[in-house]
Amino acid sequence: MNVLDVTRARERIERLPQRFLPVIATFVVFVLTFGTGSVLYDGFASPQILTNLFVDNAFLIVLAVGMTFVILTGGIDLSVGAVAALSTMIAAATLQAGWPPLLSVLAVLVAGTALGLLMGLVIHFFDVQPFIVTLAGMFLARGLCLLISVESISITDPAFRTVATGTITLAEGVTLTYSVLIALAVVLAAVYVLHLTRFGRTVYAVGGSATSARLMGLPTGRVRVGVYAVSGFCSALGGLLFSLYMLSGYGLHGVGMELDVIAAVVIGGTLLTGGVGYVAGSVLGVLVLGTVQTLISFEGSLSSWWTRIVIGVLLLAFIMFQRLIVRRTE
């Protein structure tokens, strides 16, 4: 090991906290909100409340993972909530038509991925802003939902119901659903892809500077299109988990969900300019949102629309915090 390696290693150790600072901050906020709940309300600090955060937000975690990919490249995907709603609708409608559950799941995943891929292609090849393309995608997905059916369709398929209601007992009185396992698997897969594959490293490179990445000979086009396909896939899977959670398909499921997802990713420390952020942060962001929701439902006297205000305030606080960090590193 020569001198250069030693200094580099030291630099890396010194830089570590700086790099992870946003994620650590999110973790601190999570601990603080959860701590506040535990102090204020009896029965808040129970393992079941903690696992319920995962159970109630499994779909949000999956959506946030997809959004993290997109935001890491400096893009944005406003269609996630609508695509999730479309997925619940496709699942419910195909099951009602008597499709086997596996085929129905496959159809949902293919549809979501295809829609994402399509948006990615338009964004890349026509050089249209991601914001407006995914906005159109949002309209399209919601419109398709309403074309399938205006009414809510309930899911009666026995296999779906078994998966939805089945629980795994972790310890005495602490249970998880299968959705949580799926969500965690998605998180692990995303971490693997982002940090240990060429695609993932290119995602960070494109977010850091698309021009530099292209000049380095990285396949930027493939990645820019790919992240939207990933996000489409995650939206479809998140929609499936949501249909398990609600046991119905409805075109107005998840209105405004894209905001929650973007808020979770931002609160999780991913820079909206791209290139910086971790999937783990996004998961923590979802947990913070979930805790706020639980806190408000525990309080009882506060109406549910306080959730939106608190999320807005948290979002603002974290954006300011990001600005501070960016300014300092500049």
Partner: protein, 335 residues
């Protein structure tokens, strides 16, 4: 003529109107009754007034390379506040003034985040979009507030030969046109949108300009919110102005204003808003299920974006070259 930037939007509008006239011959009829003009076209104007007004504010914001997602929430807050004030026994005039004052404050807030703190516009206004509707619900305490005030009803449902709402919107449009195109203001706005840094170095007060356009967008959204709630004499914090930011952005984009900033067309915005509203009316008129309207809008947006993109500009010959989309990283270093 095909190369004029308004050719496609106007063609689309004409096509839609012809389609309506063919399906429903009574569509083009106009009749006077009690000194008021009625007819299918007047309905489009009346229903499109809030969208047009918000789109005018949005045009200037987009011209500075920004975006304001919070307009729908601001409109909801404005309507909620005014109706709650009137329901509590306040005068309609005070209610409207205070509601607009509140919207100016919200616009100041957006402008502060974007111009002073340098936060990306999408995100800065997302904060208010998320929290704003919650705020509106807080004002109305979750109720739909219904009121019965003749003066307040005028702004959204009143007539002065033409509906008062559209007169207000067109008035604002003309005023903004005169102010920005008659003076150097419009050029400065475009300069800030083209390159904020260069324009600042050239002595343009880019911070003040950016701040002002957000305040103006907030004010427009406020008036539109009054129109929406006055039209139905009720404030619905959940649904008032829902998706209107999308309609407004579409109107601006259809009108040929580039989302990359630096170039705007108020006439285009007006045509765009009319196209959006006529499209909505057409879908009802033609008898397509109203549910399909979102699919239609999506297809229109995609078509317009593809037509406007630099790629197809090359395909269709030397139309006005659209500025290529800026990279986000550049946007931030420049901010």
């Amino acid at each position: 003529m095909i190369r004029h930037h308004l050719f496609w939007p106007v063609a689309a509008l004409a096509l839609l109107i012809v389609l309506n006239a063919v399906v429903n011959p009574a569509f083009l009829e106009l009749r006077m009754q009690d000194g008021r003009l009625y007819g299918g076209v007047v309905d489009i104007l009346r229903n499109g007034a809030p969208t047009l007004l918000i789109a005018v504010g949005m045009t200037l914001v987009i011209a500075t390379r920004g975006i304001d997602l919070s307009v729908g929430a601001v409109a909801a807050i404005s309507g909620a506040f005014a109706c709650t004030w009137i329901a509590a026994g306040g005068h309609a005039f005070t209610a409207m003034t205070l509601a607009l004052g509140l919207c100016v404050l919200l616009g100041l807030w957006n402008g502060f985040l974007v111009s002073v703190l340098g936060i990306q516009p999408i995100i800065a206004t997302l904060v208010l979009m998320t929290a704003g509707r919650g705020g509106a619900m807080l004002i109305t305490e979750g109720q739909i507030i219904t009121i019965n005030d003749p003066l307040y009803r005028q702004i959204g449902a009143g007539f002065l030969v033409l509906p008062i709402a559209i007169l207000i919107s067109l008035g604002v449009l003309l005023l903004v046109g005169a102010l920005t195109r008659g003076t150097a203001l419009g050029m400065l706005v475009e300069a800030v949108g083209t390159n904020p840094r260069a324009s600042r170095l050239a002595g343009v007060r880019s911070r003040t300009i950016v701040w002002t356009v957000y305040v103006f967008a907030g004010l427009c959204a406020g008036v539109a919110g009054l129109m929406i709630s006055s039209n139905v004499s009720a404030a619905d914090a959940n649904n008032a102005g829902l998706w209107i930011e999308m309609d407004a952005i579409l109107a601006v984009v259809i009108g040929g204003t580039s989302l990359a900033g630096g170039r705007y067309s108020l006439t285009g915005t007006m045509v765009g808003a009319l196209v959006i509203q006529t499209l909505t009316t057409t879908v009802y008129n033609v008898g397509v299920a109203p549910n399909a309207i979102l699919v239609f809008k999506a297809l229109v947006v995609i078509a317009v974006c593809l037509l406007q993109s630099p790629h197809s500009a090359r395909l269709f010959g030397p139309r006005r070259r659209a500025a290529s989309a800026p990279h986000r990283s550049e946007e931030v270093t420049a901010a």
